[in-house]
Structure formats: structure tokens, C-alpha cells
Amino acid sequence: MSEARQFNAIGRRVIRPDGVDKVTGRAAFGADYTLPGTIYGKVLRSPHAHARIVSIDTKKASRMPGVLAIVTGADFPKVGSEEITGGEGAGDYKDLATNVMARDRVLYHGHAVAAVAATSVAEADAALAAIKVRYEKLRPVMDIDTAMADDAVVIDEQLFTSGLPEKPSKPSNVATVMELKRGDVEAGFAAADIVLEGTYRTPTVHQGYIEPHACLATINQGGQATVWASTQGHFDVRSGAAKVLGMKVSDIKVIPTEIGGGFGGKTTIYVEPVAILLSRRSGRPVKMTMTREEVFRASGPASATKCVIKIGAKNDGTLTAMSAWLAYEAGAFKGSSMAPGAMCVFAPYKVDNFLIRGFDVLVNKPKVAAYRAPGAPQSMYACESLLDELAGKLGMDPIDLRLKNAVEEGCQAAYGPKFNAIGFRECLEAAKRHPNYSVPLGPDEGRGVAAGFWFNAGMQSSAEIHINEDGTVTVIEGNPDIGGSRASMAMMAAEELGVPYERVRVQIADTESAGYTNTTGGSRVTFATGMAVIQAARDIIGQCKQRAASTWGIDGDMVDWADGKAIPKPGVNADVKPLTLANIASNAARTGGPLLGRASLNARGAGPGFSVNFADVRVDRETGKLDVLRFTAIQDVGKAIHPSYVEGQLQGGAAQGIGWALNEEYVYNKDGVMENAGFLDYRIPVASDLPMIDTQMIEVPNPSHPYGVRGVGETPIVAPLAAIANASCAATGVRIRDLPLSPPRVLAALEHAAS
């Protein structure tokens, strides 16, 4: 990493290569693909949160007009227990299969019970209504306290808590217990001048991507399937569908469509294997799209949590001990984001004594999926809220309190490794200096500060670069472009090769045309796939030097590559003209054939991302409504390849975090039925809810990446929850520890405080 490096292509605000298609309606998303003969698949879903399936009668439905296939759990193969690796969320293939189609029991309202393929959606819906399912209702378990109670209904009789010294004697709803500790936490609390404790709850929330899950699948009589899917990871669709259907990986080709948002929610599969099976049964291509209601009820939201945080500090703000008790709802199957939540909770702070205990808890809700920095927003909301209380009690500025304890390069993170170059302190100092931090506040207004953290991921990526005969460049890689990554890949290829950005095109290839690549998650794409693109470009440059050398009749190591041209090294006595990429490409047939560069890697050293956010809110004391007046997001972004899209990540994460803090929640009735499964009642922020979101990018280069890139996509959602909650407390004078801070809750708290 050379910090003095001058960049040509990266750091500019170029127009993304897929942009024109996306502003003209040409870009084809999941539901936009249709083949000749396509029919439509629909899923019958459980009306109960928890029930035994006594019988399913599909006879009448199968004779309905237009119906070409019906499947139930009995039509799917038995899948053995096996851990899912490589995806963003934790899980087991056996559970994945049971989530795709229920077998003997339904475990949440919306759980798939049967599926129909018919020549129209209306006919498929009519057939679903004709399927008779007899259920024996069971008591639903809908929250952490109920699930963890001694007399709780046990959702899975085969589930014995893991992570304990000995296997327990009884099954339990607690799938996993995890512990992280350092030092002597009791001694740390005893040495403190002040000890605070708080219990915080966050509700089930949804990623809220605007495009519902959608796919088109076709399978031939030889058993080879092709699937078009809106997904963050088409290689994971392939492996998941292969497991669920007992097929060979090589018999499934997945073509990623444009993806209309995912935020972690499209890192797993729901309808894809069902569509393949319906296609096999009907002999026709089958298209399946979820309705918005199905997306809420039957895809994977983020965990509801209960977090108990305790912090001890000296009067000067030095932290002496921290403890966390963190319970995360997994939904109907084990595998919440509790572990990353536990690993992040104290990550920004130097503290010699801590104890973190995490619990992965089953409830009768849909199996959670990853949601942007999965696990971190919930636990860090709790910790960052309590730190705000601590700052208040100590009479310290909340940024100063964090500066006093901030981790820096060389510190051992609470979750294990030593931090390399990081920019947390820089973010805190920038926040303190930011003009928004000293804007005077009016009556009923308050300002709140919070920090955010996310590890960021590396993992496996592949890339190929083809040099076309006119010297233009085609990059082939395997990460669906969820927010502008084609642009960043093209910019990095252009930078490395020394050619203009406009001469590079990026193709997101299917599972048979790109090398294996992990999912678009973990903020890994610009870092890891970008590194593969850079390495593939270096492969091209090496080949070009050899081609030039053979053209000139000198040794390959006597050639340099500069500004997109092969030139003899200084001092080499060769009277030759530089050869551009176009020169070499047009002559490729005579120098060894086509120019094809490639790289595959398992990227290490993803630089962690730190952020500091602060928000100003105003409370309407008559209604309890909180309005966000200003929001400032400051983050260490390593090196911004495309600054506009990096700012966009900070702004979009802020908006999602504000929604999580202020409004969003799954509302369940006593029977475990979600009562607000639509965008009218599950209200995500709209344009008139938000102010402009000010951003400041801090660039502390990640030493593990050639350009200093660190992931930027997930960190932005972590800090807003506590920033808003802390601002709300400052504005109202009342600390509310349960999210969301919706008008009725705020109003009730104000009335309670006044009485």
C-alpha cells in the first residue's frame, strides 16, 4: 500500500455502467423474465403460528382449471442436518429445507405448506383456496421471555442447547449459548466510581427491499435446471436448491437478475427450489413471485432482541468493566445473528474487563435472515444508549467519553484480533469539529450521538478480464450489482490497467460463466471481488509485458507497464514505440492468442468499519411524534472508489436505522399473526419523513487492500438507532429503552413522566 499513490480512475464520480438501463426501465429484475410457455407458481401458507399438520388434501385443487402441478412437503426429499457455510446468516440445510416447505408441522404464520403451478396467477390462487389442510393448533411462542421461561412450550423437541459445557438433559428453545470474556468483570465493576445498567428491547424488523422475491425456473427431462433469480448470491441459490432437492450442483444453473434491494434478506432461498420442483412436475417454466404480504410473513426479517448492558467507569470516564446479556430471536429455526451481535457490542472500546453472554432463541416467527451488519444494530443500540446515560451522569460530552475509551491501531478487539489501521478516533474527532455538532437547538429539540462498528468480510471471489480486439475491456465477475458495484469494479480495472473507465464493461455472470464467488454480503464485494479484479488486471499486465517483449525481441522483465502502455524499462536499449492495450490486443493472434486474465482468491484482512453518527430531533409533545431535523453520518471508508455511491451507503443505512428507531416493527396479535404485513402499516421512511443526510467520509486506508478499500455498506445502519434514541431522550427528557420510538410509545412515556 503506497499512501502517496495518485489515482486516475478511482475516486471520481462517474456514471455507473448499468445506469441507463435502470433509468429507462430496461433493466430486468427478478419478475421481469418470462419464457415461452411460462406458468405461475403460488404458495399456500400456514394461517397458524404453530400447528401440527394432520392432513393435506389436494385432490380437488388438482382438478381445477389451469392447474398443472401441486407439491407438498411429501414431494421433497429428506435433507440431513448440515451446517450452511459461506452465506451471511447462520443455519442448517435441514432447517432450510423445512423452511422452504413445511413437513409435519408449521412453525410460523406464513410457513409454506403446499404450492400450485397453473397457467395464470388467478387460477393458481383459486387452486390454493381449494387445498384442504387440517391443522392441530399448538401454543405459539412469540417472544424471548416466553421462549426462555422454564415452562416454555418447546418448539423443537430435538433441539438441545449447544455451547454449554455438557449437553443438557432437556430440549430447549435456546439453540446456542455463547460467551466472550476478558479480565475480571466483577473486580472491574468494584473498581468503578459509577455503575449503570439498562435493559433494551428491539422489535422484529424487515429489510424492506422494494422488489419482492422472484424467480423463473425451468428443468428439462434430463434433470438440468436453469433458474433466473433475484438474489444476492446465485452460487448460494445453486447450493441451497441442490441440497433441498437432492440434485447435483452441476445440474442447476442460476442466472442472477438485476436485484431490487436485499440488505441481507436475499442471501437465502425460499421459492427457488419450489419453482424447480413445480417445473419438473409440469414440464413447463414456472415463475414465482412473492406478494408484499408474503415477503413480510415468510421471508427472513431481523431478530427481535432483549439486551441487558452494564457499564462501570471512573469519574474521568475511563471504562473499568462492561457486561452484556444478549438474547436474539432466531425465528422458527436456529441461527440468529446473535454471535456477530455479541462480537460487535463492545468492539469500539478499550476495556480490560468484560463478559458477554449471547443466546440464540427459537420463537414462532419466520426464520431471521441477515439484515445489514446482522446483529450489530441491536446490541450496539443497547450499549451506545447506556454510554449516553453514562456521559450524562458524568457530565461529559458523549464524544469525549468515547474518545477517552476509543480503540485504535494495535488494540485487541473485544472479539479477539488486534486492530490494524482503523479510523474510529478520526471519526470521533471529525464529529466534534463538524459544524452540525454546534448548531443551536430550539425548544423540544435534542441531539444524540452514537458510534457504529462492523467487521466487514473478505471470503471467496473470482474475476476474469478479457481484452477485446479493439483494446476495450470486459470484466466478468459473480456478485449481483446491488448498489453500483459494476461501477467500482470497472473503475478498479481501469485504474490498474491504465485505461479510461469508459473502455471497461462489467458483466455479472451466471454460475456456469463466472468462477465461484461468495454472496454479495458482509460489505465484501468492493474489497474482495475488487481485489480479484485488480489481480486479474495484473495478470493481464504481466501477459502484455510478455507480448511486448516478444514483439520487441527483449526479455519480459525488461518491460514496464505505465499509463496503459508497455514500455521498455529505463536504461533498456530498445528503440521501440510503446504498445497500448489496443496495439497488443489487435496483434494477439501473432503473440500467443487472446488476452485473458483471471484471479480467484479467499480475501483476508477486510478492514473493519467504524462510524460516528449524530442526530437532532424535535418532539411534538401533543402527539409524541419525533421529527429528525438533521442527521450527520461520519464513517471511516478506507478508500472511496466511487464517492457518490459510498455516500449513498451512509445515507441509505442512516434512513434504515432511523426507520428502525422510530417506526418499524412487526405487530403480532395473541395468536402469533402479524397484523401489519404491508407497507401501509409497516411504515418505512418516506421522503417527507427525512432531512438531507449529511455525510463525511474519513479515509484511513486498509493496509490489506491495494487501494486501501474497506467495506462500507453495513456499518452505516449500526449507529442511527442509538443516535436517534439518545436525541429523543435529550429532546423529551425521558429515556425509553424499547424501540421503536413510535408516537404512542413516546406519548405514553411523556404522560407517565408528567404524572
Partner: protein, 160 residues
């Protein structure tokens, strides 16, 4: 149900189709006319991804029946650019990076055009309230609002 024959105009082109009486305009556009630029995000009128205009009025096409557009003029995202020239709103969305995943973008561009056709110089607040029916989950709206402001300025310059 017997299908209904509908004669209409879509993006200035005379268009005829058959549809079920209960079929939404959104489904007619996407399935019958293969105009898939109009997106379905919710089918309940809450997200605006299916925004189109009918005789110049902005609507959610999921809340309109296909049979209702007989004799009317429908405007969709496919009709915004003229030939190979992007509309200034489209150009400004690109320049401001006002899209990330891009699935809400067609609806937002149709809605923005409807706004600027009736109000060439909207305030930030007017923009935010006019576009409040178009959900975007990626951007936080900041760059969208800026793109709309810039497009408005460009369009005013062209008119002058």
C-alpha cells in the same frame, strides 16, 4: 370471465389488448404489453414502484383496472426518453447517483416528471411531499431530492 377488449394509447402509441375485467393496469402493462419497466413492489398502492400517468395524472397502476384506461393516454417509464436521448430527469438521476438497486427508479422518474410538469420550481419540502408515495429503501432520498432539484433547474433553463 370473458376478456374485455380495450383500445387505448400508451406512450403516444395506439394500443389494443384483451384483459380480464379484474386485471390491474399494472398486470396489463407488465404481462399483456410486456412493458416491464413499471415495477410491482406491493400491489396495494403503498410503494409507488408502479407509478404511471393516465391523461397526465400520476397514479399507482396497481390500483387501476386495465379496463379503465380505454380511450385514455397512459404514460410509463418507457416513454420518458425520446429516441436515444435521455430526459433531463433521467440524466440527473444518473449524475447524482440517485439510484442504488434501481427498482424504485422508474416509478420515481415518472413521479418526478409529473411533479415538474405541474410545478417547475418546487421547494425541497414540495419535492419530499410529492415523492412521499414512492418508497426507496436504498438511498435515504438525499440524492434523489438533489437530482430532482437539479433536473428542475435544467428543465427551466431549457424552457427559457
Amino acid at each position: 370471465m370473458a376478456k374485455v377488449h380495450v383500445s387505448t394509447s400508451v406512450n403516444g402509441q395506439h394500443t389494443e389488448f384483451l384483459c380480464e375485467p379484474n386485471e390491474s393496469l399494472l398486470d396489463v402493462l407488465r404481462e399483456n404489453l410486456q412493458l416491464t419497466g413499471t415495477k410491482e413492489g406491493c400491489a396495494t398502492g403503498d410503494c409507488g414502484a408502479c407509478s404511471v400517468t393516465i391523461d397526465g395524472t400520476l397514479v399507482c397502476s396497481c390500483l387501476v383496472l386495465g379496463v379503465e384506461i380505454a380511450g385514455k393516454e397512459v404514460g410509463t417509464i418507457e416513454g420518458i426518453a425520446k429516441g436515444d436521448v435521455l430526459h433531463p430527469i433521467q440524466q440527473k438521476f444518473l449524475e447524482h447517483a440517485a439510484l442504488q438497486c434501481g427498482v424504485c427508479t422508474p416509478g420515481l422518474i415518472v413521479a418526478t416528471k409529473s411533479l415538474l410538469d405541474s410545478n417547475p420550481k418546487p421547494t425541497e419540502e414540495e419535492i419530499r411531499y410529492y415523492l412521499a408515495g414512492n418508497l426507496c429503501r436504498c438511498t435515504g432520498y438525499d440524492k434523489i431530492v438533489r437530482a430532482v432539484q437539479d433536473a428542475a433547474q435544467t428543465m427551466r433553463g431549457k424552457r427559457a
